[in-house]
Amino acid sequence: MDGQATSDAFVAFERVQKSYDGETLVVKDLNLSMPKGEFLTMLGPSGSGKTTCLMMLAGFETATYGEIKLDGVSINNIPPHKRGIGMVFQNYALFPHMTVAENLSFPLEVRKMGKSDREVKVKRALDMVQMGAFGGRRPSQLSGGQQQRIALARALVFEPELVLMDEPLGALDKQLREHMQFEITNLAHSLGITVVYVTHDQTEALTMSDRVAVFNDGRIQQLDPPDVLYEQPKNSFVAQFIGENNTLEGVITEIRDDACVVRLDDGQEIDAVPINVHKVGERTRVSIRPERVEFNKERLTEGAHTIKAEVLEFIYMGDIFRTRLRVAGNDSFVIKTRNAPDQVRLEPGSQIEIGWHPRDCRALDAD
């Protein structure tokens, strides 16, 4: 696992463990370091420990073991209000009894900033999120998207170097969410702040982040930039969790450093790249992205294995066609093809041969 603490790490988790009840660990041996200015997303299903990590970083939970460092200094024993970390909450947590301007002014007041300075900063922060005209409103008079912007402005107004966001877009509708994703990344990059972003929405994670940490079962399963994560998942969980994925199960029959042959359960053989399989006879789960599957013989790579498939269903989705196949006993094998004028529309019931480039087919662990 990469991301070991280095001297220039801005945020570092070193062997952090967390248990709430003293019996089970929700976070198991977490090591993570991120440089200044990075936008890192913690992605994972609920209960995977990602929010706990965020809360430990914010100071609302204490690590049971290990150290959390901010700018090289251990912050384990620093109370949350002295950490100087900005935070955006899932429910925005705008104080309902204060106006928008008072909400923004609050972190400046507790820092004993003068009134005129405060006003300047509040105005600048409001303008930054295009909410300059809303200073006198109460949070309850704003829509969800507006509240979201204010929450963002409040987390940024005292100019923290690190901002934590806990599923901040969870309550918004799709259109607004996409717009806000764009705005948040833009802001983060233009201000040069470091962001730790928690979400369970993989699209959000892929589109916004410099790096994504995929959490499951209290561990980081993979920590990589979005494209690496998507194209080169390191294990079955990541392959399944990120994007759509086809799996076929079988046994390794041949293995070299950069290639292996897998015999599927129905006897057909395919080529794959071994990722975390090591010896012949080992069971494996092979992962292929739907858009990398090819059924046009002319476009298949020379020498690649092909296997038989039966078309079960053809779904027209506008920009793409989605075809469900039965491959080696797997009824939910999906291929995606671009809606182009010359694209073939497969008829349900027809028998076809499919194949792919061996490098797109990854032999992963079987569990």
Partner: protein, 580 residues
């Protein structure tokens, strides 16, 4: 992570597309409600052509009726058991019909009396008073009137009680003289024949025999009230009284002496020589007797003076005149330590003032009790709302425990705790903190009332506070801390303002309960720790001055309503939450 839904500002569900943000901002949440039938010119029509409003009303009627039916039992119960008594009480505080009802003639006669003159009114008033008090005495109502007027002027009660007995003497003078002339003047039957309608006499005789059905209503003989107006009136009053109140036949009951007095007064004025009806000879003889120089008469004023000197003083007549209207502000004036005199309305003497002090004390102590409840209840409510639900429920039982114990038991327990030979004093003496001869006085004074009532009303403060605090999501506190606020600033600037609605609800509840509290101050309050409600209870059950009790109660009610209104203006009643 917190996943509280449906609380706080995030439930806003106005328009959300980003482009519409600025438009949406111009709208208030409540303005987004659709408005029906906004065009005045053309009302919306339903499919069948009836106006939409009418159609809607019809559709909702059945629903409304059913809802009404469901709440009907409670509504009726509230009306009968709550609204009606309150209205009755409000009415009693100004109602004063007893004077005009009991002394109708006197009230009329006193209209011309100049109360400021400082003189005793004329004979006409005394004559009216004679008949009024006489009839009231027969009906045993004179003592009630005496009690009523005694609230305004001490001594009136005994005046009326004495006069009820003494006024018989006046009539007896005439009765004796008429009886000496002719024994029939003291017999029932001849009187009835003289005054009563012959047909009625026949009916009454028949009824006397078989007592079948209701007694035939007494009717005056034709022309008798023209001839002897006073006698006819008072005989009629007597006859009806005998029939209705006593269930006796007027044919068998000799009339009361007021009738003889009336007969004398009539005979002194009218000529009966043309009368030819029953008993004409007797009447003419009596007329002759009255005209004779030896006939003994009684002056009403002197007779009253003989019964009690009080009647010859203007004060009693001024009082009757002041309180003769059917409605009076007297009870209210009394309730605020004022009084009505012939010189107008003024404060009572310094040493007679009591209610102002009691009202002030009640307000002050209720405020102190409310304040102590806030101070003691807030930390507990805070603790409860921040504990895990199971622990909180367990502790909640401790809060609710007092509710399940009798109020009397709790108050008596405080008596045992606080008295000078009580547990607390004993402990302090034993510890040597207090000398044995200087034990603390903690009961039968204001301190005792405040301690006991704070304890008793505490749950009413804790419960609304708790239910408001438990709806404050924990992420506000986290947000404040992440923004750099210390624990204290977080509490004071973020948590506390959001818990104010709970404090408000609790304070209103406790204050209103405290202001009308009665049992606890009565038991532990002594003389300095009693409330206005104890005085009201005294007037209801001991002095029986219900009018004053009603006036005091009305003032208390008004004070509560005014405070409620003021609270609404300052804090806003929609800021009061009992939960959610």
């Amino acid at each position: 992570m917190s996943t509280l839904k449906g609380s706080g500002p995030q439930t806003f569900d106005g328009p959300t597309p980003d482009d519409a943000l600025h438009e949406a901002a111009a709208l208030q949440g409540r303005d987004t409600e659709p408005r029906h039938g906004k065009g005045k010119a053309a009302p919306m029509l339903a499919a069948d052509g009836t106006p939409l409003k009418k159609s809607l009303r019809r559709a909702l009627r059945a629903q409304k009726m059913r809802a009404l039916l469901l709440i009907a039992p409670l509504l009726i119960f509230i009306l009968v058991a709550f609204i009606a008594p309150i209205v009755d009480m409000l009415f009693r505080s100004v109602e004063n019909e007893i004077v005009a009802d009991t002394m109708p003639r006197t009230v009329v006669a006193l209209r011309d009396y100049d109360a400021d003159s400082g003189e005793v009114p004329g004979d006409a008033v005394f004559e009216a008073a004679y008949y009024d008090v006489f009839i009231a005495a027969e009906r045993k109502l004179h003592t009630r009137l005496g009690t009523r007027l005694n609230y305004e002027q001490t001594g009136v009660s005994s005046l009326f009680r004495k006069s009820g007995r003494g006024l018989d003497d006046i009539g007896e003078v005439y009765q004796d003289q008429f009886k000496d002339l002719d024994g029939d003047w003291d017999k029932a039957r001849p009187w009835a024949e003289l005054m009563g309608d012959p047909e009625w006499i026949a009916d009454q005789e028949a009824w006397d025999k078989d007592k079948d059905g209701s007694m035939p209503r007494f009717r005056l003989a034709e022309g008798i009230s023209d001839l002897l107006p006073r006698t006819a009136e008072h005989y009629r009053i007597f006859a009806r009284f005998a029939q209705v109140e006593e269930g006796d036949s007027p044919l068998k009951e000799e009339p009361w002496t007021a009738v003889h007095t009336a007969l004398y007064q009539d005979l002194a004025e009218v000529d009966v020589s043309s009368y030819t009806g029953p008993g004409a000879e007797r009447l003419k003889a009596a007329d002759a007797l009255v005209a004779s120089p030896g006939f003994k008469t009684v002056n009403f004023k002197e007779a009253f003076a003989e019964i009690d000197r009080g009647w010859t003083e203007p004060a009693i007549w001024q009082t009757i005149r002041l309180y003769s209207p059917k409605y009076t502000s007297g009870y209210f004036l009394n309730a605020v330590d004022m009084e009505k005199t012939v010189d107008g309305i003024g404060m009572r003497d310094e040493n007679e003032r009591i209610y102002g002090l009691l009202f002030k004390r009640t307000m002050f102590m209720s405020l102190v009790i409310t304040g102590s409840c806030i101070l003691l209840g807030y930390p507990i409510a805070y603790l409860l709302s921040n504990l895990p639900v199971r622990t909180a429920n367990l502790l909640m039982i401790l809060v609710l425990l007092p509710f399940w114990t009798s109020l009397l038991v709790r108050t008596s327990a405080w008596k045992i705790m606080l008295q000078q030979q009580g547990v607390i004093n004993d402990t302090l003496v034993w510890l040597g903190l207090v000398a044995d001869d200087a034990r603390l006085v903690m009961i039968n004074n204001q301190l005792g009332t405040i301690i006991a009532m704070t304890h008793i009303l505490l749950p009413f403060m804790i419960l609304p506070m708790y239910s408001v605090m438990s709806t404050i999501p924990p992420y506000y506190v986290r947000a404040a801390k992440s923004l750099g606020a210390t624990n204290w600033t977080t509490f004071w600037r973020v948590y506390f303002p959001q818990s104010v609605p709970g404090i408000g609800a609790g304070s209103i509840l406790v204050f209103i309960l405290a202001i009308g509290y009665y049992i606890t101050p009565a038991i532990v309050g002594g003389t300095t720790g009693t409330f206005i409600s104890n005085r009201i209870a005294y007037h209801i059950s001991s002095s029986l001055n219900w009018g004053l009790a009603a006036a005091l109660g009305t003032i208390l009610l008004a004070a509560v309503l005014i405070l409620y209104w003021a609270y609404d203006r300052i804090v806003g009643i929609d800021n009061v939450k009992l939960g959610g």
